[in-house]
Structures are given as C-alpha cells and as structure tokens.
Amino acid sequence: MSFLTNYFSTIYTSVRSLLKGMWKTGYYFTHHKEIITQNYPENRDSLNLPERFRGEVVMTHNEENEHRCTGCTACELACPNGTIKIVTKFDITPEGKKKKALDTFVYHLELCTMCNLCVEACPTGAIKMDQAFEHSVYDRRLLTKKLNRPDSKLMEGVE
C-alpha cells in the first residue's frame, strides 16, 4: 500500500512543481510590462552611458584646436598591448631651442582593452576615455586612429 501512496504522492508533487513553473512563465507571458529588452538602434538618443564608461581613448582639444599632449610617451609605456604609438617631432621654441613635441598620436583601437592605464599615466591629462562604443567597421585598418587633430598645437603652459 505504501508503494501506491508513494506512487501517487510522487505524481502529485511533480505535477504541482510543474504547474508552479508554468504559472510563473504564464505570468510573464501576460505581463508585458516586465519586458526588459531595449529597442537598441532606435533608442540611441535616449541611451545614457555613465560618464566613466570606457569606450575608446580620445584626446581632448579646446576651441583653439589645442591639446595637452607633450609627447612624453608615458601612455605608450603604460599600455600593456602596444595600443599607442607616439611619433614625436622637434619644434623650435620662440627662444630658438629645439623641443620635443607631439607629431602623431597613433591609437590602435583594435588592440585596446580599455584598461585605462594610459589615462592614469598621463601627466598632463591630455587623453581621456570616451563613451562611444559603436566601433564596428568593415575594414580593420579604419580602427587605427590618429588622435591629435590636424594642425593642433600644444596648449600654452602645459609642460
């Protein structure tokens, strides 16, 4: 007899557990308010990325097209992946001295792991992390970027 009670109680508990699960999924089926997915490309304008979000490295420029990079290569040394290559040139200062300055700030986005070490290492605060995250392109060469704008100069007073 205990075999039979066992048999039927197994059936009862199993069916009950299954119905409970179905109740839950049924609840979500009928409650569309609970939907969590976002309509991504359409909601681009309302996307709110936190300001700390690291999407890519950019170099800040002010309105006069001046940046703060002295070409000291601290970021290049700090980078674990060889993402940054700094090409320097020699400027002639008004006093007639030769001075090392930034020529091109090459940034390989395809190698970057967004570790933020370069930003931390920069003594002058020339680079920062940007929130842009849609980086996909069809040609990987496009991922190699030049961060300093054309004809930009070093900001006054940045050493």
Partner: protein
C-alpha cells in the same frame, strides 16, 4: 449566415452544373490541393511566428518586431532565407534515403490533414474510422525520422534518430489509449460522430475525472510524439546539436521544421476534436440563450480557437520545462503513463456502461 461549408457546397454545385462530372472532380481535386498547400504554408508561417512570440514574452523579450508589421513577416523572411540556402548532402550519406526522408515526413503530415473537421461539414475526407486512421498514419513519421537520422552517417543524427524511435513508439501507446477513452464513450471511430456527440457539452466536461486524466495524458503523449520539449530528446540541442536533422540544411531542413509544426497542429486539432468538441460551440446544458449566442460564433473560429489554445499549451511546456533524460522519458511512459492510462481506460468503460456521463 454564410459559413465555410455553404461556400464549399455552392462551389461544388456550381462546378457540377458547369462541367462534366469528370472535369468537375478534377477541378475539385486541384482546388483542394491548392487549398491544402496554402494552408500548409500558412500554418508553418503562423506557428513559427507564434512560437517565437510566445517564447519571447515568456523570456522577457519582445521577439521579432522589425520585419513587416510588428515582425509578422519575420517567418516569411526566414523562409526566403532557407530557400536560397544551399542544401548539402554529406559525402558519406545514403543519398537516396537522405533525400527521401523529408518527403516521407512531409507526406505523412499532409495525409493526416484528411480526416480533420475544420468547420461544420467541412472536412476533406469524412472517413468512418478517422481515429484509427490518424493513429495508423501518424506512426509513419517515425520511419521518416529514423531514415533521416540513419542515412546522414552522422553519430549525432544516429543517436537522435534512435532516441526518437524509442520515444515515439512508446508514447504512441498512451496517446492511443487516451483517444480510446473517448471512443468508448461515443461508440464510434468517426470524427464527425465524436463531434456530434458533444452537442450538449464537451467530453472534458461530460466525462468526469477519467476523461480529464485522458486529456492530460493525451497532451503529454503527443508532446512527446511530436518531439517537443520537454521531450525533444531527438533534437536535444545541448546534447546532440540538432539530433536527427543535424546534417540537413536549407530547404530540406525547412521541410522537417515545417512538418514538425504541422504535426503539432494536427495533434492539437485531434485533441480539440476529441476532448474539446472540435468545431462545436460551447454549450451549457439547457441555457438556451447562452447556447444561442455561442452558436453565432462561426464553427471554424471555435475549432481554430481550441486548437491554437492547445498549441499554446504545448509551447508553454516547451518554454518552461527542462528536458528529460532518455531513461527518465521512457520511465515516465512505462511506469506512469501506461499503467495509469490502462487503468483509466477501465474506469471510462465503467462510467460508460453505468451511463454516468452526462
């Protein structure tokens, strides 16, 4: 009131009057063929879309919502994609069987359409052994599955096919026994008789608990027979990649896919016919007013409503439950469903003989 049956009848009369009998029959055949084909394609599109939407809402998603109005054309787009895909046949496969299997599976589900009463007096073939016909023909599809799995010369396919063979034949028993309990109550194998007997109430209401048990067993068994989760061991994605149709691609895969969905429709249609009264509107005893209002809803809507409700339940299973393991699956059938349905059958007979059903 204009009903589908009337349209069909007047069409037939017009055909008979206009053409010679031979031509009329031929044209009728062509019409039926076109109708069935388009219904087939339509079912595939609708059911796949429904499945995707049901799963999406249960999974806190929106589901397809880009192609067409609110994503309704998504399945059409998928079909086009499958059509323009290259269908591959593996080098090691048994080419004939490999290509024949989708035909077999599809023809089987096509044949199962014949006895289904879609609306009042609207049936392709009013066969007097409808229930037996369905039991018999539906077992052919397992041969298609076995054929597909074996001929692929792929180990996953082989295992999937073997599993599916054991599974389908096992669950056929309890599905058959569940169907039989209604047959006992009605005393006829014809689907039309069964529907007619539910004039004053559906069997699920009239037949007391034993019929409800039969209904539950029927739903479980057909879920297993159509290889749907939680009994989708033949395809068990996380174990056997795609099971018996691993090697199928493009249109041949699409045919399996379509047949699967049409089979779901058919088993649910049979379930609706046997237990929920088919196209018969909801009638409650002697509430004349209520019954009269219910009669205004077209019979085809009743039929489709019930069928799609059952389809929804089967989808609901799929998106809620984990998959069983093969030995548990067979255990469930042989240790629980079969003994219970055998016992239940006797109970139903007892009730029928005592005349306790309403």
């Amino acid at each position: 009131m204009l009903s589908i049956a009337e349209i069909a009848n007047s069409l037939q009369q017009w055909l008979m009057a206009t053409f010679s009998p031979g031509w009329a029959t031929l044209i009728e055949f062509v019409l039926v063929g076109t109708l069935v084909l388009s219904f087939f394609a339509f079912l595939g599109l609708v059911l796949v879309f429904m499945e995707r939407k049901v799963s999406a809402y249960m999974q806190l998603r929106v589901g397809p919502n880009r192609v067409g109005f609110r994503g309704t054309a998504q399945t059409l787009a998928d079909t086009i994609k499958l059509v323009v895909k290259e269908g591959l046949t593996p080098d090691g496969a048994d080419k004939f069987l490999f290509n024949f299997a989708p035909f077999l599976v599809l023809i089987t589900s096509m044949l199962l359409m014949a006895p289904i009463a879609f609306a009042k007096d609207f049936q392709i073939w009013d066969i007097n052994i409808g229930v037996l016909y369905i039991s018999a023909v539906s077992s052919i599809s397992v041969i298609g599955v076995l054929m597909a799995g074996w001929s692929s010369n792929n180990k996953y396919s082989l295992l999937g096919a073997m599993r599916s063979g054991a599974q389908i034949v096992s669950y056929e028993l309890s599905a058959g026994l569940a169907i039989m309990s209604v047959v006992i109550l009605v005393g006829s194998l014809s689907l039309n008789d069964i529907i007619a007997s539910q004039q004053n109430g559906w069997w699920i209401f009239k037949g007391h608990i034993p019929v409800i048990i039969s209904f539950v067993i029927y739903i479980i068994a057909v879920t297993a027979e159509t290889n749907r989760a939680p009994f989708d061991l033949a395809e068990a994605e996380s174990e056997l990649t795609a099971g018996f149709h691993t090697e199928y691609s493009g249109m041949k895969f699409a045919l399996f896919f379509l047949a699967e969905y049409v089979n779901i429709f058919i088993v649910c249609a049979i379930g609706a016919t046997l237990f929920l009264g088919g196209w018969m509107p909801l009638h409650i005893g002697s509430w004349e007013g209520f019954n009269h209002i219910m009669d205004f809803i077209p019979s085809s809507v009743w039929f489709m409503g019930k069928t799609f409700f059952l389809i929804f339940v089967i989808m609901w299973f799929r998106w809620t439950f984990p998959r069983l393991r093969i030995d548990q699956l067979l255990n469930l059938e042989w240790k629980y469903l079969l003994p219970i349905s055998l016992f239940n059958l006797l109970l139903v007979t007892f009730i029928a003989l005592m005349g306790w059903h309403f």
